[in-house]
């Protein structure tokens, strides 16, 4: 199909447009790419003023850590494989194999499997390649300086995995609870045209705009004193909610509810009401209709909403920093411990390595779920 001649663009305009696009992609990716490079270099190289030194890493290479040509080929191949599998392979696999109604489990399983694969590859390929390089002789000489010592320092020596486990607990808790509660509410709101439903949505909209620090100011005194407050009801076993992951989960779920119910409501409105009406005619109650008819077809919306819940919980700084103890932090607040210390450049590069570790899972997530993220962003807007 050819474009009408009048709509065709001049060469200059097309070049400007393409040039701008390239410029934007560089701008978007460069800071992230750069910290990823920095995290693999020794401190002198990582903070070198000359960009080439940061890329090639002469100091790192001098210490005997580096990538040879075969290493680079294997690395590029591995990156391409991960991209291929997550952007193309996984969706195709799920479309072909997953039984209807269980796709969501396959998606989650697939992401976890890819993540584990990357971690295992990160741990096993370097020793193997060291052997290969030794056997190759001159060809196996390091060409680019690269070291994983900062990752080892962060994850093994500084026990960053504890923060990771905390993050994991909180994100999994937030996503499951907020989806369970949110789908019910979203369905109810989508199927009820009453004024009450409208006002509830408006109140949710107002709640969405509240700064989180305002809410946390409301929780803090209660959470710190909760043992005394709850004692008359619960007796001796009354917990101090401050510092408890369960309290943070409850807070994040609630903060996230307004957004979740708005989004799920717009997804449910796209599912024709005739579907559950038919089930009702056949003698189902509202809940049975929801379980048997709606649940099997609602997964695309639930996955998208779940992604945004995940991002909120995973990226949160404010709530976790204020409601958890400094010793028991999630990953994002824990990283401030590194860059506030920043006494030596080694500390700084360790902070960079920790930062890259935190965003690596998000990277994977965008690769696999790009379509869902885009549809989620537009669903709210186009519907109004």
């Amino acid at each position: 199909m050819s474009t009408p001649r009048a709509l065709r663009q001049s060469l200059g305009l097309r070049l400007t447009s393409a040039g701008f696009l390239i410029f934007w992609c560089l701008l978007a990716a460069f800071p992230i790419f750069w910290i990823a490079v920095m995290s693999f270099k020794s401190p002198v190289d990582a903070f070198a003023a000359n960009p080439l030194d940061v890329m090639i890493g002469p100091e790192t290479k001098a210490k005997g850590h580096g990538l040879s040509i075969p290493d680079i080929i294997v690395l590029l191949g591995a990156i391409y494989m991960v991209w291929r599998v997550s952007a193309k392979g996984l969706p195709r696999l799920i479309a072909a194999n997953a039984p209807e109604g269980w796709k969501w489990l396959w998606w989650i399983g697939g992401v976890i499997a890819i993540g584990l694969g990357v971690v295992i590859g990160f741990a096993t390929i370097p020793p193997v390649m060291a052997g290969v390089n030794g056997a190759l002789g001159a060809l196996g000489e390091p060409l680019l300086g690269l070291t994983t010592e900062h990752y080892r320092a962060v994850w093994v020596d500084n026990e960053f995995y504890r923060n990771f486990l905390n993050s994991l607990l909180i994100t999994v808790g937030v996503v499951t609870i907020s989806l369970t509660v949110g789908t019910l509410a979203g369905y109810g709101l989508a199927r009820s045209g009453s004024n009450l439903a409208f006002w509830l949505l408006i109140i949710a909209l107002i709640f969405r705009a509240l700064p989180h620090s305002v809410l946390v100011a409301g929780y803090l005194p209660w959470f710190i004193n909760s043992a005394e407050i709850l004692e008359p009801i619960m007796g001796e076993s009354a917990p101090t909610l401050y510092g408890q992951p369960i309290a943070v989960i409850a807070v994040l779920v609630s903060i996230n509810q307004p957004f979740t119910i708005w989004m799920l409501r717009s997804f449910f409105q796209n599912i024709p009401a005739e579907l559950d009406e038919a089930a009702r005619v056949d003698g189902c109650s509202h809940f049975e209709a929801f379980r048997r008819v709606i649940m099997p077809v609602m997964w695309p919306g639930v996955i998208t909403t779940g992604l945004f819940s995940f991002l909120l919980a995973y990226n949160d700084f404010l709530v976790c920093a204020l409601l958890l103890d400094a010793q028991n932090q999630t990953m994002v607040p824990a990283i401030t411990g590194y860059f506030n210390r920043e006494t030596t450049t080694t500390d700084q590069v360790e902070a960079v390595a920790a930062a890259v570790s935190i965003i690596a899972p998000l990277f994977l997530l965008v690769m696999v779920f790009q379509k869902q993220i885009v549809s989620g962003l537009t669903a709210g807007a186009v519907k109004g």
């Binding site: 009408p4 447009s17 990716a29 019910l184 509240l210 100011a217 005194p221 809940f287 994002v332």
Partner: protein, 340 residues
Amino acid sequence: MKFRTFAAFVGPSLLLMFLFIAAPLASVLWQSFHITKPVFETVSVETCTPGFPSQICTTEERTIPQLEDGKVVTRTDYVGWQSYRNVLEPDRAAAAIERGSWSDLMTIDFWKALRFTLTFTLITLPLAIGLGLLIALAVNNALKQVRGPVIFVSLLPFIITPVIGALSIKWLFIGDGIMTAMLERWLQQDIAMFAQGWTIEILMLFYRVWHVAPFAFVIFYAGLQSVNQDTLESAIIDGASRFERLRYVIVPHLMPLIVFVSMIHLMDAYRCFEEVIGFSSQAHRISLQFLTFDLMTPDDSGNRSISRASASAMLTMIGIALLLIPLVRKTWRDHKGSSA
């Protein structure tokens, strides 16, 4: 749907929102008028040191926190507008305004935070919308094959943890980082990006535009797919230039989306917080939400000034309320229009 079924579906969500959003709001309002302090008592303590011919004894009055069962006794008092006065410091602010000294006014945390938050919100708004629109137009113009990867790269700034996004930009400029080195070579002078406020502020503005533009882009790009081709063609027949078509056909078509993105952006930028953490700018630039956060963090002696934090939180809310009134009115009109 019967009311009871509706209530059963919506109930759990409402309960959560009531417990953790509505109730804390009421609590914050109450806290901002009350101060909880430990109760102090004055006791006279006699300390004796051995001496000759008799011991030397001194009696002194000491103020110590009153204890009961090993716990510090606290008392909560109604203090009226005291906490608000502590945050706003009206006397100092009035004096500064009288002298016409802007820099004196900016020594008061609240006014400093207010100034920063407002300029931050208003400057980033047009930049983010403009950049988002440009990217959307450029992607729409690009070949089909490159669109997927471009969208992937564009989503990155939006999706990564805000604190880390800010840090990644900070690390490019810190000390003699590569960007600073490049600027120094270009401008032939020594530059320290983190030694003064305005350079940090520029980086913070840059970060926010970088972070939000992808969101605006995705929304506008979706909107561009539904531009009416017939209208475009008739515009061409009427002799409209490319720019006029953009101005009179495409932008009006996208207008509802531009309003939507602006509202979301205003709400989010007004809550600006992660930038302050990521760029460690608290010595130079703070935002309203950071002010509340800072008051709630325990100080050196382990005290949190909850009451002042609540007052500052309530003051922050005034801005949110002003933002929301037009939004709620518009939604209400739409709702009435659609149901009539």
